[in-house]
């Protein structure tokens, strides 16, 4: 039973018998607990319940979409969506075929945050906040904790009926140090799927963040310019997501002939050492699930193999229109939005170098670590490091003020000339696209080296 207001029978009946090429319903029920600290004080604590649904219809290539909070009379909502789609549609509907699925996926939870009392959650974060504030020079802190349990019910006119549940546990710790007019911040964002347990293990992280914020006050600015850059797994993962991952989302490509030329399968993007993968079927990560929001089973998709573009991310429509297999990447942040092509777990696979190999022959370069933010416009990307060090004569040297890296995707991927074998995942991010943010994703990489990267002050 998805909910006492909407039975499985109601939902399955409501998608049947419409004069449309395709119809689907999604019902979401999400309960969230959230804590926010700023400085000494807990600034916000709250619980939210978000229940709603949507109907989406495809007629003659046009889409209609209706979302609602009041789940009465779902069939009428579906009819509205069908009427909208009919108003738009003037072509032929194309959806890549997917076998209908009936599945109720059990929640596979390691440590359930709903079993931890609010008092205990607050006690844990009171502890981290006190640790950070006790470091000499730290003037303020910012902590965000959130856990959310989400149950999604999906049914389509093709006969699919799927129930899935997930629990996201996210946290961010940040410390600000201030001296005279100068202010520096250090932070870390973490996340886990279906597991609260990491939340209780962050003492060292809190100490490190607080001390780093103070150290940054004495750090010099980078001399802006072009350097060889070594990225740690977290930042390289963000680079992989921002610089390449978004370009592999086919909704940017499928109706754009020029983009099709650029993103033609078989095109060389990098050296032989470069392999990039996306897949929700990689288990246990923030971007993992069994079915996407069109009911397509999750997969693991090779995007770049030995430097060559070999695949891309699809919804059923983009796959159908490009004549490629659906990849299970149609995702919606919640019932208020239709699914669009999104990443899941995106990562650069291990190479064969060591970290020392990567920095050993760099006379003057930058070692950039940790994620702060990133964004892309397809061709150009920019992402910022949580911390950075100069590399001098093959050794990691002085700490720098935070840096920002920017570049052109096509040249930058080719300039990756070293990949280590220490793959690690960043689970603290949330991806934004088309007004839908933050969508749970993970990204990962081993340490990588990029030649000729533009580095500026953040």
């Amino acid at each position: 039973m998805p909910d006492q207001l909407t039975s499985r029978d109601d939902i399955e009946t409501a998608v049947r018998g419409h004069n449309a090429d395709y119809v689907e319903i999604r019902i979401d029920d999400t309960s969230t607990t959230r804590l926010v600290y700023r400085g000494q004080e807990l600034e916000e604590i709250g619980r939210t319940r978000s229940f709603g649904g949507c109907a989406r219809a495809l007629v003659n290539g046009g889409w209609g979409f209706v979302s609602f909070n009041q789940p009465h009379d779902i069939r009428t909502r579906v009819e509205e969506a069908v009427a909208q789609a009919r108003h738009v549609g003037k072509e032929t509907s194309v959806l890549a075929p997917v076998d209908p699925v009936i599945d109720v996926v059990p929640l596979d939870v390691a440590m359930d945050p709903r079993t931890i009392t609010l008092a205990r959650k607050k006690e844990i974060f009171d502890g981290y906040n006190a640790r950070m504030l006790s470091v000499d020079g730290v003037t303020s802190t910012n902590i965000v904790y959130g856990d959310s349990h989400k149950r999604v019910t999906f049914a389509s006119s093709e006969g699919s009926y799927i129930e899935q549940e997930r629990i996201d546990v996210i946290s961010r710790l940040a410390a600000t140090a201030r001296r005279n007019g100068d202010m520096q911040q250090s932070s870390m964002s973490l996340g886990a799927l279906n597991d609260f347990s990491y939340i209780d293990t962050l003492d060292e992280a809190a100490d490190m963040i607080a001390n780093r914020a103070v150290e940054l006050l004495n750090a010099p600015y980078v001399e802006p310019g072009v350097y060889p850059v070594v990225l740690d797994p977290i930042l390289a993962g963000v680079f992989c997501h921002e610089a390449f991952g978004h370009l592999s989302e086919s909704d940017f490509v499928y109706e754009n002939d020029r983009m099709k030329e650029i993103m033609v399968l078989g095109r060389k993007f990098g050296q032989k050492n470069l392999n990039i993968v996306d897949g929700a079927a990689v288990p246990g990560l923030r971007g993992s699930f069994k079915y996407d929001d069109e009911g397509t089973p999750a997969k693991k998709t090779d995007l770049i193999r030995e430097g060559i573009l070999v695949g891309r991310l699809h919804s059923r429509e983009t796959a159908g229109k490009m004549g490629e297999p659906p990849s299970g990447n149609a995702r919606a942040i919640d019932y208020r939005f239709p699914p669009i092509v999104r990443m899941t777990n995106t990562y650069i696979e291990d190479g064969d170098a060591t970290f020392d190999d990567l920095i050993g022959d760099i006379k003057l370069g930058v070692y950039a670590r940790n994620w702060f933010g990133g964004t892309t416009s397809m061709e150009m990307f920019t992402f910022s490091a949580g911390e950075a060090f100069m590399i001098r004569d093959g050794k990691v040297a002085e700490l720098l003020r935070p840096v920002k890296l920017t570049g052109n995707l096509f040249t930058t991927l080719e300039n990756i000339d070293g990949i280590a074998r220490d793959l690690d995942f960043n689970q603290g991010g949330g991806c934004g696209k088309g007004g839908q943010m933050p969508l749970p994703v993970s990204n990962g990489s081993p340490h990588i080296r990029i030649q000729d990267c533009v580095v500026g002050e953040r």
Binding site: Q84, V88, T382, G407
Partner: protein, 439 residues
């Protein structure tokens, strides 16, 4: 709809000394164009109730989109209250709010077919300038109602409407990608699609040729759109009364100081008629007003909501904003930067070698709280000897907004609305760090 007084009664029965119920009901109708043609119609209904309680001096919060959920809503809010922050305010009594025009029945009545036509006309017009431009566009109609009641007697409500249009075009040649675009929004159906057409046409004409930039300190012009992208967020964050009170804002202790260029004036105004960010009262039921932030270079006032005002022993400026699922926090409404006396053409003509920033990507990633901004120039142009010579690529610009605004080289004489919420002229700065990778 939920009976909000019943929610307040239930909260008091459960032990809350004060309670506030906030209800939103929105209907959002986007008409979406993809690859130059109509692709999708949406209709999104959102409604729900948020409850704040003050119990034993502490604030609890819960929200729900389930209209039948009163008991769960009250128990969730009461469960959080013992762990919540100490309340430094009482919910306000019923206030005399100014009359602010926020709703136009013509927007509510604006037909989907008219939205479709407006979008297609716009796309066709810019493609006459550049036939190979691939356009995504959206016309969006939003009609909604906000209601707020509290246990101290406030019971306020208003309706709002908005029509928004945006167009985003891409032009790809080889691996060179050009992105152009503009957006306008209004309470009425009078959005200026002709302006979007003019802006995009200007962008296309000046972006045709590529120009090489070098790494150097040089004059930089931010167009209205560039100001909104790069400067507004780091600037207004510093005026958050909460961050000032906590000593996190670089403006802490600097009220009344002449920190900025004497020609610079900036204010926030929630009372402007027919602007999408306008409202008669804020999201805590406090009357709206005009709040001067910078007057002729002087730091004049900070922005407060109830809690931050209570902590700072100041008055709320009616700056509380919230969504259904979030608690109120300090936010700007319509932000107005006063125009100056220099035309855009004069600014360009005065620069020997410099950069124009129209669209900056990743601007909010740095030490924003300290006023730093930096980003990749997504759309920008090079000036040589007083003339725009082409579009730049692989170029970053960085600076600190408080340092930059201390001495502005020229302020444009014409302000324009960006995203319907920021009204600003272009600004010219003498020296700013530009880094480029020569191609």
């Amino acid at each position: 709809m939920t009976n909000l007084n019943a929610v307040l009664d239930a909260a008091r029965k459960a032990g809350a000394q004060q309670a506030e119920a906030y209800q939103v009901a929105n209907e959002e109708t986007p008409v979406m164009f993809e690859a130059n043609r109509l692709k999708e119609l949406n209709s999104r209904h959102t409604s729900g109730v948020a409850l704040r309680v003050i119990a034993d001096g502490r604030i609890g919060f819960a929200s729900s989109t389930r209209p039948d959920d009163v008991d769960d809503l009250v128990s969730a809010a009461m469960e959080t209250a013992p762990f919540g922050p100490e309340a430094h305010f009482d919910f306000p009594k019923q206030v005399e709010a100014p009359v602010v025009e926020t709703f136009d029945p013509a927007t509510e009545a604006f037909a989907v077919d008219d939205m479709i036509e407006a979008g297609q006309t716009l796309i066709d017009a810019v493609r006459k300038v550049e036939p190979e431009l691939l356009c995504d566009a959206q016309l969006r109609r939003v009609v909604g109602e906000v209601t707020l009641v509290n246990s101290n007697g406030a019971n306020v409500s208003y309706r709002g409407s908005m029509l928004m249009a945006w167009l985003h075009g891409s032009l790809i040649r080889g691996t060179d990608m050009l992105f152009v675009g503009d957006v306008d929004a209004s309470v009425s159906p009078d959005i200026d699609t002709a302006r979007i057409e003019r802006t995009v046409t200007w962008q296309l004409e000046h972006a045709r040729d590529l120009a090489n930039m070098r790494t150097a300190e040089m004059p930089v012009i931010f167009t209205s759109s560039g100001v909104a992208d790069a400067l507004v967020m780091p600037l207004t964050l510093a005026f958050s009364g909460r961050l000032v009170q906590q000593g996190q804002s670089p403006l802490a202790g600097k009220l009344g100081d002449d920190l900025y260029d004497a020609r610079l004036s900036v204010h926030d105004d929630a009372t402007l008629p027919m602007r999408p960010a306008s409202r008669p009262f804020d999201d805590e039921g406090v009357a709206s007003r005009r709040t001067p932030l910078i007057v002729s270079g002087t730091v004049r006032s900070f922005m407060y909501d109830l809690q931050s005002a209570g902590l700072a022993k100041a008055q709320t400026t009616g700056s509380a904003e919230r969504s259904l699922t979030s608690q109120p926090s300090i936010s700007t409404t319509s932000l107005i930067i006063a125009p100056g006396e220099t035309t855009f053409e004069e600014m360009v003509a005065s620069v020997k070698e410099g950069l124009i920033v129209e669209d900056l990507m990743g601007a909010g990633q740095g030490n924003v709280m300290g006023g730093d901004f930096s980003g990749n120039v997504l759309l920008g142009y090079k000036i040589e000897n007083g003339e725009i010579v082409g579009r730049v690529k692989d170029t970053m610009v960085a600076g600190n907004v408080h340092e930059a605004l201390a001495s502005v080289s020229a302020i444009g004489d014409e302000a324009r609305w960006i995203n319907g919420t920021i009204h600003t002229p272009p600004l010219l700065f003498d020296r700013m760090a530009v880094s480029a990778k020569a191609s």
